[in-house]
Symmetry: D2
Subunit: 353 residues, 4 copies
């Protein structure tokens, strides 16, 4: 297998099967001197943990992170940080090795590798995403001015229309649906509870807002910020689409209307750019929509097993983490942009202290 590492400068390598001994991540490229503790990680892992409400699976893993390396006296050493979480509550007898679960990766995995861990999703399980959340915690330490907040924009026909200004994660987490529009949130919760009874499931749409990023993040060609963020988000399980802004609508809008809010020749900053121009951040808020297909486990199996009728609320911390990984990577990359950065006395000062 390949592709268990992510990031060019700020790099995370994840490992672990859902029913193996442990899952975890090695995070490399982390500068020395950042504060980091297991408590930081526990808070973040708690936000993605199942078993928290009437609308999520009852699998109740402890998810206790253990930092094995890279931190000394509460600060990063500059060396790779390994964090592991051991698996406890893995009822593998739920799974029958003799068939391929509908809508899952069982069959393609068997074809690809000729050998698989049939006790659950293995490496393809959603449980793999806890390693991403671990990485996200470290990444956010590196970009303290960047604020990444995701929320449930729509589930089923229920769409949040009134979104508060200056949205925070606490505001989003206040409701189990992670929908910050109270009316929509109530409707969504009712729909999900009914779906769980019916053995039905939902997809949905998450909106992510990234604010506070400096101008100049992203590279002009293949590593555009608008390419890396969707590529990162699409790597999460049930995500089937990502758009910068509301592309579904913008693609149908005429240019004279779409561009009229552009900032003009003097500033060169376009309001309609949703935070990214030519692939590079322009200092404005980046706004992304993330589309989820309905959860794969439906019918009788959904009624019996420990499965969410909708993955969207629990997926939000994972999406935020993926964005954090990208933004931290680009923030490090930006240190390499200019010639004089390593010769100007003030930087030498930093490196010589």
């Amino acid at each position: 297998m390949r592709g268990n590492s992510f990031g060019e400068f700020f790099t995370i390598t994840t490992f672990g099967e859902s029913h193996g001994v442990a899952l975890g991540a090695v995070i490399d490229g982390v500068p020395a001197g950042l504060s980091l503790s297991e408590a930081d990680l526990e808070v973040a892992l708690g936000r993605r943990r199942p078993g928290q409400s009437s609308i999520t699976t009852s699998r109740a893993e402890a998810d206790e992170p253990e930092i094995l390396s890279g931190v000394f006296e509460g600060k990063t050493l500059g060396s790779p940080i390994c964090v592991i979480v051991r698996n406890h509550d893995a009822r593998s007898k739920d799974y029958d090795p003799n068939y391929y679960r509908t809508g899952h990766a069982d069959r393609v995995w068997q074809e690809k590798f000729g050998h698989r861990d049939h006790r659950g999703g293995g490496r393809a399980s959603g449980r793999e995403t806890l390693a991403r959340v671990i990485g996200g915690v470290v990444a956010e330490k590196l970009i303290p001015d960047v604020k990444i907040v995701g929320f449930t924009r729509q589930i089923g026909p229920h769409r949040a229309t009134t979104i508060p200004e200056n949205l925070s994660r606490d505001m989003v987490d206040a409701h189990p649906t992670r929908c910050p529009d109270p009316a929509a949130a109530e409707a969504i919760q009712a729909a999900l509870e009914q779906a769980k009874r019916d053995g039905d499931s939902f997809g949905g749409i998450v909106e992510i807002q990234i604010s506070g990023a400096s101008i100049g993040l992203g590279e002009p060609v293949f590593r555009k910020a608008k390419a890396l963020l969707p590529g990162a988000l699409m790597s999460v399980g049930a995500v089937v689409g990502v758009t910068l802004g509301d592309a579904h609508e913008d693609a149908q809008t005429r240019g004279l209307e779409f561009h009229q809010s552009a900032g003009g020749e003097l500033s060169g900053i376009s309001a309609s750019a949703n935070g990214i121009q030519g692939g590079i951040t322009n200092g404005e808020t980046i706004r992304l929509l993330v589309y989820f297909k309905p959860a794969s486990t439906v019918g009788s199996m959904a009624k019996e097993g420990r499965h969410d009728p909708c993955i969207v609320p629990r997926a939000i911390p994972v999406l935020e983490s993926m964005c954090a990984l990208v933004m931290a990577d680009l923030a490090l990359a930006q240190r390499l942009d200019r010639a004089f950065a390593c010769t100007e006395p003030e930087f030498s000062g930093n490196s010589e202290v």
Copy 2:
């Protein structure tokens, strides 16, 4: 700058500014023994060249590719292939260095690097994409059984509804709009001609179909096929969204309905997966929608200059090329999956299914 290289096993590195001496690409990781000629490249470059119809810019570059290395007696050597295209018709006086063009990357580039080629988009110009087309030609040589066809699904309110079976590039290219539904094509052409007169512009939606890919391409975590393809497509200029299938609709469909077409426990192949399960190809046709925002040059500048009112038709060969780069990369990666991949006969069988 970074991010001028793409691909992990089949790697393309592109270079060149729109008004510099030349643009080009170095393609590495190409196995020895594939036939390749400049004529192959000319055909592909011709498909993205402007100046071909009433609805495209009149900049008429010759775009003559020159193979500098990596090919001997008509076959690849296994060594890196460098192809360049010199710039001829670069009327840089069209551009005024003293302002930032609306909706372009001029400002963010200036902020990022402190220095830019103000004669045009420079490295951020759409002209950069010809290097991607060059890469796509070579990539397709490596995956002869994979068929990648893109077409205009919608521009403005005009949506193609009747799409022929077994769509080919020739069928798509038969109309300058690259819309294979004749009625929609006519309506789109009229709308674009009107927009050009009005100084208006359009975005649109492209659909890409990838068929003939073997089962097992893609990696389970970060390098899922469903992540790499959108990440690649989002790196193209005006693209603002990519979805696997019609995610905008699927995100609003209930699970019992969505998954009813799944293949069942015996096959493990889901029809609703749009060709990718758990991030890995399942052997079915991959179907992607690519959303474009309206072209940035509008108003008086659009009426005078050499600008397309809609980039969508010309962008299709570029999108196809990006898909080819991803699929070739994954095809090479697949050679590494199993312990005895190259010698055990049964693997050859599997990879050919």
Copy 3:
């Protein structure tokens, strides 16, 4: 920090400080279906463990490897393999944080990162190499036909002159000096025991023989086999030089004499190439010499502490592991050389010659 990962196709990422919680490695790119157990790892780790004889330090870590992921029912899954070894016997009070140990990396590390784990070498400790040995075990599973054997060629003035044919690791391990020439071995052991009493130390020369590699491993330019192997070996602590064959002698030999043993025009295989021509393996035994400087801890500290007077014998398994990592990486790379590598029967033939 960067540079904790090694290999392009077969990739190892290592982590851990000498006095932290644990050290370990994540090994990615391992094909599915290889057998692997903790017992395999214990044997290999035992070969580098200190405290085994009168000439090594008495630090007696258990070095118990735990496989956390990537193996199911005794076989690799194709997913990343994480192995950790917890630190037990870490007497950090031996170290005084207030000074920089002579000949160690303490000062440069402090300058570089502004923060370090002063309880020991931290990440720069020789204990880091156990992660390399773990990687070597997995790498060797992938290249069963390749035999990598290192031995002590010289320590001080004592040089092995009579080396048995078909040398094996068991033959080398039969003596604590890992010198397979009995006379030299005895002289070396006596010299090391005396050095330990004197607070003196030795460097030395290791010879490594790699046989059984197929023809065609290595890439023609920057990734020549003759560049990757020395680069890998030089990354080990006290190594200060690596040569292909006896370069110190060959550099002073005239061409007519040096090349007279060449295989001639028909075979194209040169005996004087020491197994690598143009950077690519030629199917013959690769012979490398690895030079070590004297161990850094000398004087009163050496008499009191737990330090080897000569690191050479214990380093041999680490050097072998680094060679295994390179050879496995090149073996995977070879699968990508030809257009139809995995399907054409004649290629299997070539790769087996």
Copy 4:
């Protein structure tokens, strides 16, 4: 083929066969704002050009570099720099396709790829190294304080013993042997002229001194400066060994003697470290020895053809270039070491100018 790219942050990708259309390099990761011209490149290429004296081959390529991209108004843009050199004087009829040249890569290449450019060395020709020299010129722009000077230390039995302080490239280039000890230089020249008459050849030893590097370059584990530099140098054609300092001697020296020149506990800088401790530069001069085997073309072919009896003098600019590539890469890497570099106001200042 793989391995045509070198460097992690400062990256060079080279291409071209000795008898193809052109050779060249794409250099990526170059910060914006460095001055660069074709004249800079011509000077450097001139230093490696053959046909300059009685002791080198008479192949007299013009080697005219053409910058295709990445430079505007004499300064780097931050975008990738492509430079090509066309092949002119390629007398391919000298080569017979029907046999494998002794001591060359012809046979292994044929085995590896099943197809090769038999008109000369192709990609395996020494002519490939001009792309490395191009990269070296750009790399040195980035590290103006670092001085890299190589010189002929020994050819045959003739060893330079008196080396001037503050050695410069001009001082080295003053003699065609590039040996700065006049007596040794005369003896070497006489020996090479005689060898050319005899159809004999020589190897030799080059010493490289790297001074002016700041403290802290290199990474603690796999990317140690002492690993990257030898790995880079070993990738050059006839190089068969690289040592940090005189490892052949140091490996036989006892520790009490070797380490007595160490700087002591207060400074932590060891004079015996040859500029690198724990893999990281300590601010002192780095001293490397590079061993060459005798040139492969001997006997009647050597008398008739255009071949150097000794590649050592001409190889020196190539070796210096490889060191420059490594040092520039590590200088960029150093920008990523610490947490506060991107948050401290003075650096933000730089990036926002």
